[in-house]
Symmetry: C2
Subunit: 214 residues, 2 copies
C-alpha cells in the first residue's frame, strides 16, 4: 500500500494522462451525440475525432450508454453557468428582467443550446437521467433565478403577484415565445443581439404592466 496517498477510498489521483484523454473523449462524444443523436452517432467516429484509442474509451466509460450520459450531462451543466450571473438584485425591475431575459433567450437560440435541447428531449425516454439533469440545471434553475429576483426587487418597483413562482414561470415562457421553436425547426435561424433585445423588451413590458408596475 502507498504510504503517502490518503487512506480514504479516493481513486488515487489517476490524473494527468488519463484525465486528458477522458476530457478529449467527453468533448468529441458530446459533439457527436449533440449532432446526430444517440443511435446515429458512431463510437468509432468519436474515437477518430478524439484521437485516442477505442480500448481506452471502453476502459474509461464501459459502454456507449454511459459515455452518452456523461458527455451530455457535462455539456448541459456547462452551458447554463453564464446565465446565473445575469441576475443583479440591485437593478430596477425592467432592467433586471431585461438582463436575465436576454441571457436566457440568447442561450436558448444559440446552436449549442438548440442542440442540447433537442437531444435531451429526443432521448429522454432512453435516458431519463439526462432529461432530469437538463431540467434541473436548465429551465428550473433559470426560473429560480427569476423567482428570487422578483421576490427581492418587485415590491419596491410596484409589482405584485399572486404567486411569485408562477409569475417567474410566465416570464420565462413569454421570453421563449416562438423563437425556440423556430430555431429548432430551422438550423440557419439566427437572432441578432438587436432582435433579442426587442423581443425581450416587449415581453418585459407586457409582464410588468400585467403585474401593476410603472
Amino acid at each position: 500500500m502507498p504510504h503517502r496517498a490518503a487512506e480514504s477510498s479516493e481513486p488515487v489521483r489517476p490524473l494527468s494522462r488519463g484525465e486528458a484523454r477522458r476530457r478529449a473523449f467527453l468533448d468529441a462524444a458530446a459533439d457527436a451525440f449533440l449532432e446526430h443523436g444517440f443511435e446515429a452517432a458512431s463510437v468509432n467516429e468519436i474515437v477518430r475525432r478524439a484521437g485516442g484509442s477505442l480500448a481506452t474509451l471502453y476502459q474509461q466509460f464501459g459502454s456507449k450508454e454511459q459515455l452518452f450520459q456523461a458527455a451530455v450531462e457535462e455539456r448541459v451543466s456547462r452551458a447554463i453557468a453564464p446565465m446565473v450571473h445575469a441576475a443583479d438584485h440591485n437593478l430596477p425591475i425592467r432592467q433586471g428582467l431585461q438582463a436575465i431575459g436576454e441571457a436566457f433567450l440568447g442561450a436558448l437560440v444559440s446552436p449549442g443550446g438548440v442542440a442540447i435541447f433537442r437531444v435531451s428531449i429526443g432521448e429522454a425516454r432512453k435516458f431519463p437521467e439526462v432529461m432530469r439533469t437538463f431540467l434541473l440545471t436548465g429551465p428550473d434553475r433559470v426560473r429560480q433565478v427569476v423567482s428570487a429576483y422578483l421576490a427581492a426587487r418587485a415590491p419596491q418597483d410596484g409589482c405584485s403577484f399572486a404567486s411569485v413562482e408562477r409569475a417567474a414561470d410566465y416570464f420565462c415562457e413569454m421570453v421563449r415565445g416562438r423563437y425556440q421553436y423556430r430555431a429548432l425547426a430551422d438550423p440557419s435561424f439566427q437572432l441578432s443581439q438587436d432582435d433579442i433585445r426587442v423581443h425581450v423588451a416587449a415581453a418585459v413590458d407586457f409582464f410588468v404592466r400585467g403585474a401593476g408596475g410603472d
Copy 2:
C-alpha cells in the same frame, strides 16, 4: 388500355386492399416511431405488428425514411384537429381563453402529444419536413386560433394589445408553462382535468389583467 378509367395519370384507384394495408402500416409505424424514435424502431417489427408483408411495405413506401415521414406527419395532423374547435368567438374573454387553453394544455400533456413533440424535435435535423409540419399544424395553428379570437373578442371585453399576435404568443406560452417539460421528463406524469382547469385559469387571470380587462 381500360375504356372506363380516366385518361389522366391517376393511379387507377388501387383502393380497397392496398389502402387497407397502407393504413395498417402507417398506424403501426407511427406507434413504433413515436415510441422508439427513427433509428431505434425496426422495420421488421413494424411489419410484424401491422400484419402485412415486408415486400408490400417497401413497394408502398420505398424506404424507412419515407415511411417515417408519412406516418409521423399523418399522426401529427390528426392530433391537432380537435383543438381548433375549442374556439368560440361568442364567449367572453375569460371563458373563451379558458376553453382554448384547456384544450391546448390537455393535448400537450397527453401521452400522444408528448410522444409527437418528442419525436418531431428529436429527429428534426434528419427530417426537417416533419418538424415543419409539426410547427405549422401545431403551435402555429393554435396561435392563429388564439390570435383570431383575441382580435374578434378582446375589444368588447376591455382588453387591448400592442400586438395581437404577440399577445397570443404569450398566452400560449404561459399555458404551456413548465408542465410540458415535466411531462417530457417523467412518463408517469399526469394532469387531472382539475389541474388543467386551475393552471389555465391562473394564466388567463394574469393575461387578462395584464391586457387591461376586468
